[in-house]
Amino acid sequence: MIAAARWRVIRRRLLQALPVLVLATFVVFSLLKLMPGDIAITLAGENATEERIHEIRELYGLNRPFLVQYGNWLAHAMQGDLSKSLANGEAVATSIARAFPNTLLIVVLAMAVALGLGVPLGMLAASRPDGLRDRLVTSIASLGIAVPNFWLAMLLVAWLALNFGWFPATGAVALKDDPLRALHHAILPALALAAGGVAEVSRQLRSSLVEILSSPQVRTLRAKGLSAGVILWKHGLKNAGVNLLTVATLLFNRMLAATVVVEAVFAIPGMGNLIVNAALTRDLPVVQGVVFVMVLVVISINLAADLLYTVLDPRIS
């Protein structure tokens, strides 16, 4: 009975994700339409011959209706065919397959740092609201949210990499080639990326814990003689779990964005590097490919979180 209800919820979530997916991919495709002037001429590059322009028109189906073009593009994209780079002719899917693991490693590591530091800091702040520790954590969190990630990245490079030589200043190593060196390269970028995350997690966790701890339910527990620690761990954190999941989901989206700039500082050949270079040279197929993959990742993560909610909190339907 319960299982059937849960399946219904899951099916509805999947159905809700579908229009978002369609609209998001439509936005990605429409980027092409934002280009001023004749797209074919822009895509063909400067000094292109008339034949090349014609070829581009055929290739992109630019003389067909817009929705047909979109359907065509989506059908190809869903099968992993993201067209070719205008700059070097490499299949976009191949470039992305090479770049994505580098980005993912940093983001996952940064996520671990954000939760690993943010959760204890949030609990510390919530254990005595408006106390000295609370104010300290809250102030640090405000700084963490306002600091530009890439500036923090530069500071880390200048101090820890160039000055002390503890970490490599630039580059990345694939995890499958040499896990230890890969992590060594990924630590500084992940730290730069995690600053805002630590701040966000600690702030949100603090406010939801403060709310839970001041509820009548917790007052009863306290009256029954439970220690503050047990209440904080067992009842506070358990109830804040759903909230934390929301924060983590949003954070993943934001880190995926911020990594683009951080990668530039460390010259990491990841998704950020790919899209920035493509945007600078107006290599639109690569731009579209990177955005397409990123938005797919974000939508999948959101969907996974939605499904997790139904497991964590049976009241949600």
């Binding site: 998001a24 990605v28 980027l31 405000s142 530009p148 964005a257 945007a279």
Partner: protein, 278 residues
Amino acid sequence: MMLRRFFAWLRRDLRATISLAFLLALGLLAVCAPLIAPYPVTAQDVDNTLASPSAAHLLGTDDLGRDVFSRMVHGGAATLYASGLAVGIALLLGLPVGLLAGTLGGWVDDAISRFIDALLSFPSIVLAIAVTGALGIGLTNGMIAVGIVFSPQLARLVRARALVVRQELYVDAARCFGASTARILWRHVLPNTVQPVIVQVTLLLAAALLAEASLSFLGLGIQPPSPSWGSMLARAYQNMELAPEQMYAPGLAILCTALAFNTLGESLRIALDPTTKR
């Protein structure tokens, strides 16, 4: 009356006062940039590159021998202009769309809401980079892109507010008296969205500032020789091994300004929230 409440709020909230004073000073500095900056942004002192701070150059010179202090002042103006432009565009797009969705409801609301959801699933800077790549690089295009990317946040906020107001008794009453939808929008729904929008706009200004800095750092925003704090950081990055101190001034400026906008926004949220106890 409004003014007196405003000053009473400032007296109570020291952090908001400091933030507001900082931002006003910055605004003044930006408006009077040509009067304050001792050198034009492109003036080069070629024998004196990457100099340390001195009486002639308060913050030293960059790798082309240009006065860093002058570039900071002019860069601040560009940065503030860019943030304002992005948030203005976000308002122009987000406000009417959110109002329409929330007030009309029905399939219009469904369609707009799904579209907002779709736009919100893009990592913001990534979409801004993509739009810049399509429109062509440059500060104005970059900020149009950031404005487009930020607009769904405002639309969602306004929609949620409008949905609540639509249910209010006095809106029903107005409708009974024959008020048109346009009149209800203008007289009842719009005024009710002002306060949350002010808060959100303040917070978005901080986000737009960071976005401008990021885009200009990547070379997709402001183009040389014009400076912004982000592009100054890009130059500092290239000269990091020779003159690491070049990155402190622009970075601190971005940090402090974003912090001021965020602090002001949070204070406003608390001050304008009717459920907060005084």
